[in-house]
């Protein structure tokens, strides 16, 4: 049985309406106007990933929260699990950009890192 998914391509303002058909081992993309659309459509149905960003409370810092992000993209299905791991931590100032805040978040193998410096207040 072939499965169909409707997506909007995000590579450019055109925003092509893609139809991705998954038929056993074969994936076909229609509605795209360029090869980037095809690649996007295939990735979105086989291995969709996202960068997750949030903030974490800082103790003793010159600002209340430090922005954080996953060091690379993580599977889309793990977004809320990664958010839970972010919600569980607090950090102590000083914080440096790139510091690991959560190691191997939610078993993704990807660390959550600080996205700015926070000095001691």
């Amino acid at each position: 049985m072939a499965e169909k998914k409707e997506l909007t391509c995000i590579n450019c303002p055109l925003g092509c309406a893609l139809t991705v058909t998954i038929d056993q081992n074969e994936i076909t993309v229609t509605g795209n106007t360029c090869p980037r659309g095809e690649a996007y459509g295939k990735k979105e149905v086989t291995d969709p990933t996202r960068i997750v960003t949030s903030t974490v409370p800082v103790d003793g810092g010159d600002i209340a929260r430090v922005p954080v992000k996953t060091a690379s993209d993580i599977p889309k299905g793990k977004i809320f699990a990664v958010m839970e791991s972010i919600h569980a931590v607090r950090v102590q100032a000083p914080v440096h950009i790139g510091d690991v805040v959560v190691k191997d978040a939610a078993g993704t193998g990807v660390d959550v890192v600080a996205a700015r410096d926070v000095s001691v207040a």
Binding site: L7, T8, I10, C12, P13, L14, G15, T33, R50, I51, V52, T53, S54, T55, P57, I63, A64, R65, P67, K69, K76, I79, F80, M83, I97, A115, R116, D117
Partner: protein, 428 residues
């Protein structure tokens, strides 16, 4: 707190940069690199970086650094350069006024009230959100109504919770970003209502902030009533007709505790207006020439105070140019300028920046940025000198939410006269 205390004693500076956000930082860095030693940045917030500090999402810097950075990381790159170049700045300091002789009145915690004179001024004050008062939404005035950017700051920098059940009016990028942010923090975003039949936000944000989390986008809908005494209790949303008038009978009440407004950004030009610079009615920013100079000599403008951008990369690019041009102006390298030749925007092009160009003293290449009035398919962007088409580029889709640009070559404009004129337009 200020970066370099020597800045405080300065009574006169070469270039005064108003605003320490992405535009101000890039302009100051460029001016310093161009050989101007006495620069001072005035910032009213308690830190440099401007709006980028609260834009914790990724997607910044794809053009500038070929990487996807978060807002704070993008800002940090420019702050590092400013620090290495030892560019002085004052924090917690407001500019109160500027006059035509570039006397600038400032007030701050550390410096008190004082006047600084500058040989050149770069306006980089950014923009502000359109507030509820400018939207004429009927209803009560309870707590729980925020502009999307205010909510973003409260949440991401100050660390306050915003609400549990949220309705968003307007599909500007900040509203879309906040829909995702609130969802990730456990709030329920019920819907995003957009008055227009198309979204004002970037496609990428609609897909990754709304579609990813099954948040509906209701086009041609608006909030017609707000209910609640102490706190928002619910809002009424109705469909609108093609004249944007609510259609009776389509009202639906949404039970919520928070309403976010993401209904457009307005360049913050109170200073520019009191200065008496010529203003553009469409952008809400100053009219500038190809050097990004206003009609007041020595006063330059760049970034969102000039016209609202969707990508910070273009802000940095524009601001770098403003910084270099201000430096050239100080060094006497800018030839006496004619009033320039106005660029006409028509056929669906709403405005251009710059608004005028001086073909005699322009750089070899000038980038002309603009926005279109509606969603257009299969149009050609064309530039005319008199009746001659200088440039044409086919496009598949153009939208008001995405800024466009064309580059003009100095050679193309050689000998251009006022009678010929220059025109940017869309055609079939």
């Amino acid at each position: 707190m200020s970066g370099f205390t020597k800045g405080i004693e300065t009574e006169h500076v070469g270039i005064l940069v108003i605003g320490g956000g992405p535009a101000g930082l890039a302009a100051a860095v460029a001016a310093k690199k161009a050989g101007i030693s006495d620069i001072l940045i005035i910032e009213r917030d308690r830190m440099l970086g401007g709006i980028l500090n609260q834009c914790i999402h990724n997607g910044f810097g794809l053009h500038t650094f070929r990487e996807e950075l978060t807002g704070p990381e993008y800002a940090a790159r420019f702050m590092k350069q400013a620090k290495e170049l030892e560019i002085p700045y004052l924090l917690n300091t407001m500019v109160l006024s500027i006059d035509r002789d570039r006397r600038v009145a400032i007030m701050g915690r550390d410096c008190g009230l004082k006047t600084i004179t500058a040989d050149a001024v770069i306006l980089a004050m950014g923009c502000r959100e359109r507030p509820r008062g400018a939207l004429s939404i009927p209803g009560t005035r309870p707590a729980g109504i925020y502009t999307a950017g205010t909510a973003q700051r409260l949440m991401n920098i100050e660390g306050f919770p915003i609400g549990r059940r949220v309705v968003i009016l307007g599909s500007g990028d900040i509203g879309l970003i906040m829909a995702r942010r609130l969802t990730l923090e456990g709030a329920k975003v019920l819907t995003v209502a957009e008055l227009m039949p198309y979204s004002g936000g970037l496609k990428r944000n609609i897909v990754q902030c709304l579609n990813d989390y099954q948040i509906p986008l209701m086009l041609s809908h608006t909030v017609v009533n707000i209910h609640g005494r102490e706190r928002v209790e619910d809002v009424t949303i109705a469909e609108v007709d093609e004249k944007r008038t609510p259609i009776p009978g389509t009202e639906v009440r949404y039970e919520c505790d928070t309403l976010l407004l993401s209904c457009g950004l307005l360049p913050e030009n109170e200073l520019t207006r009191t200065l008496g610079a010529s203003m553009c009615g469409v952008t809400g920013g100053a009219n500038v020439d190809d050097l990004l100079q206003t009609d007041i000599p020595g006063v330059f403008a760049c970034g969102n105070v000039l016209h609202v951008h969707d990508l910070v990369d273009y802000v940095s690019e524009e601001a770098t140019l403003a910084g270099e041009n201000a430096a050239a102006y100080l060094k006497g390298e800018v030839a006496a300028r004619s009033e320039g030749i106005g660029i006409t925007a028509d056929g669906g092009v709403r405005y251009t920046v710059p608004q005028r160009i001086d073909p005699l003293s322009m750089r070899n290449e000038v980038t002309v940025r603009f926005r279109v009035a509606d969603v257009y398919r299969d149009k050609t962007i064309a530039v005319y000198r008199g009746k001659t088409r200088l440039f044409a580029r086919k496009t598949r889709v153009l939208a008001p939410g995405e800024m466009e640009q064309v580059k003009l070559d100095r050679k193309m404009l050689e000998g251009l006269t006022k009678d010929e004129g220059l025109r940017v337009t869309l055609e079939d």
